[in-house]
């Protein structure tokens, strides 16, 4: 999961597939009318269901591996619905935002969605990115943006593979 996973000669390249503004709510990411669908295996079909640009990406098969959504501040504000995270996770997306809503960020950590806080990020659709633990490099423009690292506990949860294995370990330690 970590940005350091690719330490070979050529670090993996990510592609910006969509650029969004501030305050993208979980209602936009996963509209309420699909909330009866809860299984992570079923939620990806409704990701950004009312967003023509994202629907076109899915329709045209333009979500290759290492696709990135870049957003402004407060991405994932609003509802606590976890489908908003599992639907993006299911498309194997990475989200880079200037900041995240609190519940969304925690849900992302809990489910292992890569959500990177990058306060100064400014990129264009189609840009190629190199993602490291401490910065994001836009290879298209040559600009580098600092990453705000996750607090240690969230980092540990990510490294454990999410909250379920993390909790399982705690449960077993109690015995």
């Amino acid at each position: 999961m970590s940005g350091n996973a690719n330490t070979g000669a050529t670090p993996a390249e990510y592609t910006v597939v969509m650029v969004l503004g501030d305050d993208v709510s979980t209602d936009a990411i996963y509209p309420g009318r699909f909330m009866a669908t809860v299984l992570p295996s079923e939620t990806p079909q409704y990701a950004f269901a009312d967003h023509p640009e994202f629907r076109a990406l899915i329709r045209d098969g333009k979500l290759p591996p290492r696709s990135v959504i870049v957003a402004g501040s407060n991405f994932g504000c609003g509802s606590s619905r976890e489908q908003a995270v599992s639907c993006l996770r299911g498309h194997d997306l990475t989200v880079i935002a200037r900041s995240f809503g609190r519940i969304f960020l925690q849900n992302a950590v809990n489910l292992g969605l890569r959500a990177i806080t990058c306060p100064g990020i400014e990129v264009q659709k189609g840009d190629r990115l190199e993602i490291a633990a401490d910065s994001v490099l836009d290879r298209t423009t040559g600009k580098r943006f600092a990453v705000r690292p996750l607090p240690p506990t969230k980092q540990a949860m990510m490294e454990a593979g999410g909250l379920i294995p993390y909790t399982r370990r705690r449960l077993l330690e109690r015995r």
């Binding site: 009312d50 504000c77 509802s79 925690q106 849900n107 489910l111 607090p151 449960l171």
Partner: protein, 429 residues
């Protein structure tokens, strides 16, 4: 160093003398609340136990509350089956605070928690619903979490990753004008500090206006604190909190309010003069796009909604009925009313409030959340404009991304129902 209310609560719940903003703690949970999404929590809970050889057993069935409210009665076989799965789990685990689809004890989760006396000052309340912030009105630290985190709480009784939030102190002084209330205060605050102005922080409410608000109004303030991004809103417990818990929630045992230290450290202080406020309107498509009613007057509306965990209480229905009694809503509007709980519904029925609303032309719906988030009844047509006392006006919120939603108080909603356009309730409509 002095502590804020939330720092005191988190210190107690983590078994520590003190905590300060920025530290990470693992507080014990006093109330763990879920609604229909308990179905997903159950999946995740079972997965935690997979391969452990342990029997999946919740840490304390008496501290878990489950309330069906999002799709009641079930609108589809899928929902009905999810609800059945939750019912079976509740029975198997011995969960007692279960509120099924019933006219005696059902309703919207946040109203049920408050009116059932499940929440006390000093509690840590976690809920799989972002509006769990509501319970700060009773002096609790109350936060929304995801389903997987709730599964972890069910297993361990702890929140494993709480970064002690910094606290914004909001001081509201001044006498509220006619037809101006708690909804206008919180909309004004959100407009001022923005939809992310309190992200990762707590809003602690102070001032003479807040002290004089009944609990019903404080619930509105804390309910919508999340719309400024707050982890929790909180009103320090006082005489009114004790009165509400004793008289309205049937709490018989001792209750200790938690108040901040005089030298508590705040992130910042925001002052509001309540006496200068007009009724406030949140305009499409953001809760922080707030304007005084004077500058939105005359916008044509198609559907009026009064209800929800924000403004579906007896006081809200009574305020609307006071404006609509012996009058008729405009022919070109539909008016939907959904009380916050069946207890509220029954009391409004007894007092003749529901009859007044119906005779004016309103439709009374089941207590529930469905209409507010566009999942069960009350959908909007393409191009429709809704004026609603609910809490969110995001694009598509009420089920149709081609509609617009304005948010307001019950008084503005009722006055506008009469005219069919957004109207100022103070000008004798």
């Amino acid at each position: 160093m002095g502590m804020t209310v939330v720092e005191k609560i988190l210190a107690r719940a983590s078994g520590r003398q003190s905590v300060a903003a920025g530290e990470t703690v693992e507080p014990a949970v006093d109330v763990a609340m879920s609604h229909e999404n308990a179905a997903l929590v159950i999946n995740q809970f079972m997965e935690i136990y997979q391969g452990t050889g342990l029997e999946p057993k919740v840490w304390d069935p008496s501290r878990i509350a489950i309330i069906f409210d999002h799709r009641v009665p079930a609108e589809s076989a899928k929902t009905a089956t999810n609800q059945k799965k939750v019912r079976d789990f509740v029975a198997h685990q011995g969960i007692t605070r279960f509120h099924d689809i019933r006219g005696d004890e059902g309703g919207i989760c946040h109203q049920i928690l408050a009116e059932s006396g499940y929440v006390r000052p000093g509690f840590v309340v976690a809920g799989t619903d972002s509006h769990t912030t509501t319970h700060g009105a009773l002096g609790a630290f109350a936060l929304g979490i995801g389903a997987t985190e709730m599964a972890s709480v069910w297993a361990l009784g702890l929140l494993l990753n709480v970064e002690v939030p910094a606290t914004i102190k909001v001081v509201i002084d001044g006498r509220l004008g006619p037809c101006v209330g708690a909804k206008d205060l919180i909309l004004h605050l959100i407009g001022r500090i923005s939809a992310q102005g309190a992200n990762f922080k707590v809003i602690e409410f102070h001032g003479e206006t807040v002290r004089s608000l009944p609990t019903s109004g404080r619930l509105v303030l804390c309910n919508m604190s999340v719309e400024a991004g707050a982890t929790s809103g909180i009103v320090p417990g006082d005489e009114e909190t004790l009165r509400f818990l004793r008289d309205d929630a049937g709490v018989r045992d001792g209750v200790d309010p938690v108040v901040p230290d005089p030298d508590a450290v705040y992130d910042r202080v925001v002052m509001i003069d309540a006496s200068s406020l007009s009724p406030q309107i949140a305009c499409p498509h953001a809760v922080d796009n707030v304007k005084p009613v004077e500058s939105v007057r005359g916008v044509k509306v198609d559907q009026i909604v009064i209800g929800s965990c924000t403004n579906g209480r007896l006081e809200d229905l009574a305020a609307a009925a006071g404006i609509l009694r012996k009058r008729k809503i405009a022919r070109n509007v539909r008016m939907l009313v959904f009380p916050a709980s069946w207890r509220v519904y029954r009391e409004a029925l007894r007092r003749g409030i529901l009859a007044d609303l119906m005779e004016a032309g309103a439709v009374i719906m089941n207590p529930g959340c469905g209409c507010c988030l566009g999942i069960h009844q009350g959908a909007l047509a393409d191009g429709d404009v809704a004026l609603s006392t609910t809490n969110r006006n995001f694009l598509g919120r009420m089920g149709n991304p081609k509609a617009e939603i304005y948010l307001c108080s019950p008084e503005v909603a009722a006055a506008s129902a009469l005219t069919g356009v957004i109207s100022d309730p103070r000008t004798g409509v």
